[in-house]
């Protein structure tokens, strides 16, 4: 008996798929890194990993933020939400431990009941996992449109290195047939291993991380494996791309991994948001892409490689179409959300993030 085996490692669907609409969301509050340092590091002002991070307000969570990003994506997609057959939210800060964020988001944006709506979790690549699944659902002709969202209101242990950077934000993508897309997804590839670089046990409030172990064996290993394999299988190099977006836990890592794959600082600049909004975890690569789409021109090619601890990377090769020009202005841009800014101090941040024992 012969087993069918694909000759290529690439994930390519039966029919071409693409991004029909996209939308971002970032809350308005900002906690400067110097504020964290004021409390925990004797007020040092140099050597901080980012400038400031976005913080969700008291009435915000992954569900409310996903609803707004989804509404922006649908506004650009110009389709009725009732055509969506999946609404998939990927996050590591879902408001419920059991009960999907996705059902509430679906109801709020006006889908019908004929949908898939489970939640996704894979640390910072939960959103891109959902995106791959959406490609499969649409690419296999099981559905015409699916919505994949990566969104987070990430938490860091008080005083820990991650508290400087763990931010809130993300983006939503309507996936559909390539004929209707503002950007076509040429192919994707995922590289996953069991790597314990960062985790949170059930019931624990804050995650644990492996310090320097999160670098080379985790972040760099998986991004370069996924990114390089995608490039090799497609027969492309960094020079064939206008832009690249990488997962961004801090300012330095994405710059270094970009260079490792042959990309320049210029190519990653529009999608490098971590200095001003922090690491938005499951939203990071997704919102880096939305910021890039906000400025990309028809014909531009974008490489996106996410990274989720645990660990794995999803890599996508995307090409922008003519339709970007007519759809881009139909919703708020990523930069509009970033510009909307109210600075808060550490005490306000602690209150907003529920770090005070109220009972």
């Amino acid at each position: 008996m012969e087993h069918y085996q694909k000759s290529s490692k690439l994930l390519k669907s039966s029919r071409p798929v693409g991004l029909i609409g996209y939308g971002a969301y970032v809350p308005r509050y900002r906690l400067p890194a110097v504020e964290v340092a004021r409390i925990w590091a004797g007020g040092k002002t140099g050597g901080l990993p980012i400038k400031e991070k976005a913080v969700a307000g008291l009435d915000e969570d992954v569900i409310t933020m996903s609803i707004e990003a989804a509404r922006n994506a649908i506004a650009r997609a110009q389709i009725s939400p009732e055509l969506l057959r999946a609404v998939w939210v990927g996050s590591e800060s879902h408001p419920y431990a059991v009960k999907p964020s996705s059902t509430i988001v679906a109801e709020a944006i006006g889908t019908g009941p004929s949908i898939q709506a489970g939640d996704w979790e894979f640390a910072c690549k939960a959103g891109t996992e959902a995106l791959v699944a959406a490609m499969g659902l649409v690419g296999s002709c099981m559905a015409d449109y699916a919505l994949a969202i990566g969104m987070d209101t990430a938490q860091g242990h008080p005083g820990d290195a991650l508290e400087y950077t763990a931010g809130a934000g993300g983006a939503a993508y309507v996936v559909g047939p390539a004929e209707n897309a503002l950007a076509v997804i040429e192919a994707s590839y995922s590289y996953v291993t069991d790597t314990p670089d960062f985790w949170r046990r059930a019931g624990a409030k804050y995650p644990e991380h492996g310090q320097r172990f999160t670098g080379e064996p985790a972040y760099f290993k998986h991004i370069t494996e996924a990114g390089q394999t995608l490039l090799d299988e497609l027969g492309t190099t960094a020079a064939d791309y206008t832009y690249a977006v990488f997962h961004q836990p801090n300012s330095k890592f994405p710059q270094r991994v970009a260079h490792m794959l042959g990309f320049s600082d210029e190519q990653i600049r529009p999608g490098l948001l971590v200095p001003v909004i922090g690491n938005t975890y499951a939203g990071a690569a997704m919102i880096g892409l939305s910021a890039t789409l906000d400025v990309a021109k028809p014909g531009d090619r974008i490489l996106v490689v996410s990274f989720g601890s645990g660990a794995g990377s999803d890599a996508f090769s995307i090409q922008v179409t003519d339709r970007i020009e007519e759809r881009r202005d139909l919703a708020a841009k990523t930069a509009d959300y970033i510009a909307r800014r109210t600075q808060i101090d550490y005490a306000t941040y602690v209150r907003f993030r529920g770090k005070l024992a109220m009972k």
Partner: protein, 131 residues
């Protein structure tokens, strides 16, 4: 635990879905049994744009049970562009002062927990200064 009640109201609350009277085209929010304009039966769903202006507002220094941790918070009467006035909290206020007449837009936010921290989450409409 008031689960059935919140579940009944979710469509209106999540998406500002009201009614349009089939007899006189009056836009109605919140939905009700009888059209306040012509007295006829009103049932057709109507999705409001979410755009409106502040008609009045007040800053609450203390909240009742379930709202204490949000205080101080701002409650407002919002005149929707389509006509009805709706009661809602204002959110995402920056340094700009609130003014009667200022343009706002609807966002879906977490309103409260039903009961205590183990209860279901209640989401609904609030309004913020237009982006």
């Amino acid at each position: 635990m008031e689960i059935p009640r919140h579940w009944r109201l979710k469509k209106e609350r999540y998406g500002l879905v009201g009614e349009e009277c089939p007899h006189c085209s009056f836009k109605i929010f919140p939905p009700r049994d009888v059209c306040p304009n012509c007295g006829g039966e009103a049932k057709e769903p109507y999705v409001f744009s979410g755009k409106g202006t502040v008609y009045s507002y007040t800053v609450m220094q203390d909240g009742p049970a379930g709202y204490e941790e949000a205080a101080p918070y701002t409650v407002a009467l919002i005149q929707l562009d389509e006509g009805p006035i709706v009661t809602a909290q204002l959110t995402d206020l920056g340094e700009e002062p609130i003014e009667i007449g200022m343009p706002v837009e609807m966002v879906t936010r977490r309103i409260r927990s039903d009961g205590d921290e183990r209860g279901m989450l209640v989401y609904g409409y609030k309004f913020r200064p237009r982006l």
